[in-house]
Each structure stands twice: as structure tokens, then as C-alpha cells.
């Protein structure tokens, strides 16, 4: 990714334009990932905001040999885990909660949810967090099993199992909804 290498170099040199371009390039994907893991637009937005603020602060001492996208994705995953850990008793919000939350933001703040995405988001929340995380990282962030295994600190076999079981449960959830 030549563009990312240029961006990393310029960002390290203090270029605010590089930071803005990194934001522009990855924010939607990161927001979707956070939304998939949290099913809460406010929380998802907060996580993404934290990630970019911390990333911006790292500028002077920033060294990254790997992928910028993987770095930011991992930061979102960790940010979500922190929130889940901190707020473990918080029940998952329903579709209605999400739509009300979005509507209260006014037209220029409203996050866009397709109907499928809203159903999917709710169904994902029925899965254990590890399975949800695996599915989102594999399918949305396009990560390899070994990369996910590294993030989760488990074996590749465990990740593959989480992916398989997660997909089966999700399928059952969504089929159940269709049949209702």
C-alpha cells in the first residue's frame, strides 16, 4: 500500500493533512466495525474518536512497520473490549433503541443504517463477544485467521471454531427472524 506508506511517513513528520487523509480513508470501516461489535452508535462513535485521538497523539514517536489498517483495526477492537469490560452489565440495545438514538441526532448527525444492517447488528449482539469479534474482523475487516488469532491471543484453530460457530448461530438468528 504505497499510499499508506506515504501517509505514515507524513504523519510521523507532523502533517495534519496526512492525519486527515488517514481519517477519511478508514473512518467508515472502523465505525462499521465498532458498530458491529457494540450495536450502539454513540458508543461506536466514542470508540472511533478515542482511537483517532490516541493515534494523533502518537505522531512524534510513531513507528509502524505493519499495516496501518490493521493497526487502527486492532485499536478499535481493544477500545471496544475496554468498554464491554467496563460496562458488562449494560444490556444490548434493541433495534428501536438504535433508531431512536440516531433520530435524536438530527439529520446531519444521523448514522446511516440499511435495514439489513440493522437486523444484522441486532443478531450479532446475540453472539458471544469473541465470536462477534471474529466474524467482524474476518468478514468486514478482511483479516486472516492468523491475524485474528494474534489479536485475540488464541490459536488459529480456536479462531476458526469461533468463526464457524458464530456464522452458524448468526444464520439461525436471521432465519428465525425471517420465519416470524
Amino acid at each position: 500500500m504505497l499510499e499508506d506508506e506515504i501517509l505514515k511517513w507524513k504523519f510521523k513528520g507532523g502533517s495534519s493533512e496526512a492525519l486527515a487523509r488517514i481519517y477519511e480513508k478508514y473512518v467508515d470501516t472502523l465505525l462499521t466495525l465498532a458498530m458491529g461489535l457494540l450495536n450502539d452508535p454513540y458508543e461506536a462513535e466514542d470508540v472511533v474518536q478515542d482511537v483517532f485521538t490516541r493515534f494523533a497523539r502518537s505522531g512524534n514517536g510513531f513507528t509502524l512497520r505493519g499495516s496501518l489498517k490493521a493497526y487502527l483495526t486492532t485499536a478499535v477492537v481493544n477500545g471496544v473490549r475496554d468498554r464491554v469490560r467496563r460496562d458488562k452489565r449494560r444490556p444490548a440495545r434493541s433495534d428501536q433503541d438504535v433508531s431512536l438514538a440516531s433520530a435524536s441526532r438530527g439529520p446531519d448527525e444521523e448514522l446511516v443504517f440499511a435495514e439489513d444492517a440493522a437486523r444484522l447488528s441486532s443478531a450479532l449482539m446475540e453472539l458471544p463477544h469473541e465470536q462477534r469479534e471474529t466474524l467482524m474482523l474476518k468478514l468486514k475487516s478482511n483479516m486472516k485467521f492468523r491475524e485474528i488469532a494474534k489479536i485475540q491471543g488464541v490459536s488459529i484453530n480456536t479462531v476458526q471454531g469461533r468463526y464457524r460457530y458464530g456464522l452458524q448461530k448468526l444464520r439461525a438468528q436471521l432465519n428465525g427472524e425471517v420465519e416470524q
Partner: protein, 289 residues
């Protein structure tokens, strides 16, 4: 039964989009944090004040104006063969002699600067000592930034939120203004290294114009690999002043980035007085300093 492949596709296609408000807040905070980490005094608290000057939107506007100025600087070196309606050397002299100028700027493909294209735009008025930029969305004034360079004072107003801020520029801000990009001598030496081509004549808004263009991007400063670059300027044959500048750059890893800047509605040789462009702060606006 819903096949698993459908579910996989749905997840892959799922894409939450940020809102304009979120962009302003999150990116504003990040830029603010970046300034702090570099030991620079930020312009103000994270949101919304941070979006005044170092905002990439503002920077893009400045960049577009700089590109325009670079192009303007080139014309001294374009041929002035008999038959040409415009004497390019005179254009360069006129532009340089014009103390005050105003123009409209419209951009696409940047940090969502004018994403409501063509309904959103900026109007820039500036002289060697003063500048004012007004952002409009659907012809409604959204934000204003006024700078008095000798006193380094900045006034920023968000008309949507009815808030304002007054700040003083840092040495670095002033230095950035005084670097080679804004120095006419520097611009001309940059222009010496560029290849230009004449575009012939065409009529724009009833005005006979003659154009010149370049695809030479040496010394260009983009944050993505540029695959193509073009800048065109059209000058009124009658007055010898530019009336339209168009800049386009494409690139990115997959070639999907396309950024354009269009500068028009120029007014040259204006006497820009502070009293005429310094914004009045309405009494119901809240100071956020």
C-alpha cells in the same frame, strides 16, 4: 434457509457512514491532539474551535489558492505570439500588482469540504494584510474566519451554532504564511520549472477568454500517489485578469481518488478595508474562549 454466503455478503457490504458533524468533531479532536503532542499551542479546545485554521478544509482552500497563484506565476514564461488575445506577461504583472482579490472556491474529493457540491462553496477575500473566508451551504452562511495578519488576530464564527472565538496566531502560523509558497519570487522560480500549454480561446459567461494549462506537478504536495494532474486558467481577453481556475488531481492506490478545485467569480484589484470585511459578532453569539 438463509445461506451462509448471503450472511457473509451482508457483513461485507455493511458500511456505516460518518456524519458531517462526527467528522468535524472526531477529526477536529484528533488534529487538536496532534498539535498538543507536538508541543504546539492548539488554537483552542478540541471542538469546535479546532476547526478554524488547521482544519484540512481551510488548508485545501489555501492550497487551491496557492496552486492558482503558482499557475498565475507561470504566465510570464508563456509565449506571447502575435494573434494571441492575452499578453501573459501582463497578466502576471497585473495579478501581482492586485492588492486585494476575492473569489469563490468549490472543491470535491477532499475531506468532505464541499460534499454538497455544487451547493456548498467558500468565498475568499484577501489582501496582503487581511483575509476573510466564508463557508456557504446552499447559499446559507455557515462559518466565517477573519485574520488580521499584522496583529495576528483571528476571529472565528460558527453561524449554525451561534458561537465565536478570538485567538492569536502563533509564530509558526505566521511563518507558514511567509514561506516560499506565498512569496511571489518563490512562485516565479517554481513556475520556471513547469511545462505549459496554451488552450486557445473560449467564451465563459459571455466573456471571451484565453486559456493556459499545465500537467506538471513537480513540487506538488499531495498525501496520495498522484496519477494525473492538470491545472487550467482562463483569462479575460478584454481585462487581462483571470476569471476561472480549474485544478484536478487523481490517484490513490486503486486510482479512486479524484480531487478538484474550481476558483471563479474573481474580483481583482480590490481595496480591501478592515472595516468592510471584519465580521460583526451578533449579540446572541456565545464566546467559547
Amino acid at each position: 434457509m438463509r445461506p451462509e454466503e448471503d450472511i457473509r455478503k451482508t457483513i461485507r457490504r455493511w458500511n456505516n457512514k460518518t456524519s458531517e458533524r462526527m467528522d468535524e468533531r472526531v477529526l477536529g479532536d484528533a488534529l487538536h491532539a496532534m498539535d498538543e503532542s507536538q508541543g504546539q499551542e492548539p488554537y483552542g479546545p478540541p471542538f469546535p474551535r479546532r476547526s478554524i485554521m488547521k482544519n484540512p478544509i481551510t488548508k485545501l482552500a489555501v492550497a487551491a489558492a496557492v496552486i492558482a497563484a503558482v499557475v498565475l506565476g507561470l504566465f510570464e514564461f508563456v509565449s506571447t505570439d502575435a494573434g494571441a488575445g492575452v499578453v501573459w506577461a501582463e497578466v502576471a504583472q497585473k495579478v501581482e500588482a492586485s492588492h486585494g482579490v476575492s473569489f469563490r472556491l468549490r472543491e470535491t474529493g477532499g475531506q468532505k469540504a464541499h460534499k454538497n457540491w455544487p451547493r456548498s462553496y467558500s468565498v475568499v477575500r484577501r489582501s496582503p494584510t487581511l483575509s476573510r473566508t466564508d463557508w456557504y451551504i446552499a447559499d446559507r452562511l455557515s462559518r466565517t474566519v477573519f485574520i488580521d495578519w499584522p496583529t495576528r488576530s483571528v476571529i472565528w464564527l460558527s453561524h449554525n451554532q451561534k458561537i465565536y472565538s478570538k485567538k492569536t496566531l502563533t509564530d509558526e502560523d505566521v511563518q507558514n504564511r511567509e514561506d516560499a509558497w506565498t512569496d511571489p519570487q518563490g512562485l516565479i522560480s517554481l513556475g520556471l520549472n513547469r511545462e505549459l500549454h496554451e488552450l486557445g480561446q473560449k467564451t465563459i459567461d459571455g466573456i471571451l477568454c484565453e486559456g493556459v494549462g499545465t500537467n506538471d506537478l513537480r513540487d506538488g504536495d499531495f498525501t496520495f500517489p498522484v496519477k494525473s494532474f492538470s491545472a487550467r486558467m482562463w483569462v479575460s481577453v478584454e481585462t487581462g485578469y483571470p476569471i476561472l481556475v480549474e485544478v484536478e488531481a487523481t490517484g490513490g492506490d486503486d486510482g479512486s481518488i479524484r480531487r478538484t478545485s474550481t476558483l471563479d467569480k474573481f474580483q481583482w484589484n480590490l481595496d480591501i478595508e478592515e472595516s468592510a470585511i471584519k465580521p460583526e459578532i451578533p449579540s446572541d453569539y456565545e464566546c467559547i474562549d
